[in-house]
Symmetry: C3
Amino acid sequence: MSNGHIDTITILNEASHARSPHPNPDETTSHSTKLPKDGSQVAGYPQEGEGTNVSLREFRVNARIGMLTISDRASRGEYEDKGGPAMRAWFDRVLTSPWQAVARVIPDEQQLIEAALVELCDVEGCSLVVTTGGTGPALRDVTPEATEAVCEKMMPGFGELMRSASLKFVPTAILSRQTAGVRGRSLIVNLPGKPSAIDDCLNAVFPAIPYCIDLIEGAYFESDPEQCKAFRPAHAKARQP
Amino acid sequence: MSNGHIDTITILNEASHARSPHPNPDETTSHSTKLPKDGSQVAGYPQEGEGTNVSLREFRVNARIGMLTISDRASRGEYEDKGGPAMRAWFDRVLTSPWQAVARVIPDEQQLIEAALVELCDVEGCSLVVTTGGTGPALRDVTPEATEAVCEKMMPGFGELMRSASLKFVPTAILSRQTAGVRGRSLIVNLPGKPSAIDDCLNAVFPAIPYCIDLIEGAYFESDPEQCKAFRPAHAKARQP
Amino acid sequence: MSNGHIDTITILNEASHARSPHPNPDETTSHSTKLPKDGSQVAGYPQEGEGTNVSLREFRVNARIGMLTISDRASRGEYEDKGGPAMRAWFDRVLTSPWQAVARVIPDEQQLIEAALVELCDVEGCSLVVTTGGTGPALRDVTPEATEAVCEKMMPGFGELMRSASLKFVPTAILSRQTAGVRGRSLIVNLPGKPSAIDDCLNAVFPAIPYCIDLIEGAYFESDPEQCKAFRPAHAKARQP
């Protein structure tokens, strides 16, 4: 089965920024239209001016996923980033609708994490941002604080379910402070640093993610139900573009 | 079995306001004595001046339940309020002690929700306020934020258990941000918007509610144990008025 | 089996204060070296100047556990403190590495609780502080608020698991607002007031506590695995001093 990964056109139109909590006019302008570097168009995507406004908006919303590795050692190159590739491999295996990854590796500094989250949400237009690392109790672990600082709405059910799922494997799962929240049209979800724990957590919470992103008017994601089945209530299934 | 629903006399005496977090002298005065609109007295309830101070206080505390429907469409009349009647039907079926419903329907505006919660707690003297709607991730969903803004104490165990109970039915249960908290002598509990989910959540958390309201010195509630059994520790059972 | 309880030398060196969030120069100075009141040295502990800096630091970190009973009645002597001795008995039974208890009994006053937590963490150098009492919904229950006020990082997984574990015994477990958090090199964990519930909660969360304290660079604790097995990931087991 095709994993659906293609390089999509990223068109951040005015509408997709209108509800951004911290709009930056410069960013909105400079990124209002982004084309693939090779100038190509992507098959199956409507060109500007095609179709109705409604369907255009549906298509224009970016099916982008930000993947933020937060690690002092990985950011200095002392350590191979394993969390980022593990998140990427999970979505490559599970998603069937077109999507694009936007990856970053940064150190465990709260201001840098906040800035990276804001950029992935507001500038890169990612409907989903997943983070790996920095959720433990140690002094340098500040990912949850950075996440809370940039979100308007916290989603406590994600952290509860991820800890509860991880507890089946290790009693130290309660040490993870991972959380999730909404910023504008983006959902941010903290994942653990360890690749096997990333899979356990995504398997637990992903079924609710596509419908959550529908509700915040982000992109439409579809998954291979044999890998991880996304759940949408009956009334929501008709929205599919 | 009688559902115990009667129109009770509402006497908000000074004592019942003394620990209110945001006392409004005007409200306390103007609502210090409220009689049924038809001027009747309620059988079985002591009149002012009867009995000892202690038993009077027990009887005077209002066995009122505020039922707040939070929905843009229902408040405009575009949509029938189904959450409010579902909450009412649940308590009608389960409670056996006398109680009174105070219902409101308002739009998803945080300031209006906060004002309605304050009025139901401080002016109407509801020992319990249940809300329906506005707990999801969408832009207009602000019920948990309004609840937190008016409570002195948050009760995270309610949200955790309601999400955990709903997860048995739908994986999107983690998208509910519902919470609970205490304001003065009132317990506020957020319930979902969907009537069947309201029942699931009340079945999960109600067993702890009457004892919680005892602890904050609210009214005494009794339930039909065959419908939903309220739990009180052995030492608390003697308090029954 | 020896319970490992001895009167340890408490040496709060500069390093152990360096990351304290609210350093108090007077406290740091006056408590920079504390010897047992009888002037003795403790067998098996290195004296100042012995060994390498690294191993000294390991040994100097205080294996102290603060035990804070929060109860108006117990602090006035109207009521025997049962929570404090129950916590002490649990650790006496479970811990096998040397440790020392630092007990306090105070009323349910937020400022006093905060001051006692700060003193146990920053002055007494307790790597772990457990509290009993004050976690319910009543007006005087303010232990979670005091805990949150003095911690830099909250650990929501502790409260979630303790409530979930207690729910197997009583439906009113959701009324407990107990939480946990990190202050500097100290972990603070709220426990219930009732001795049997203290045991249930410690049995649930203790397996993650020694590794959590490793991560915040506190003391090294070992337990009798037949009583309650502490879990450390494979890579962490080598750290043992």
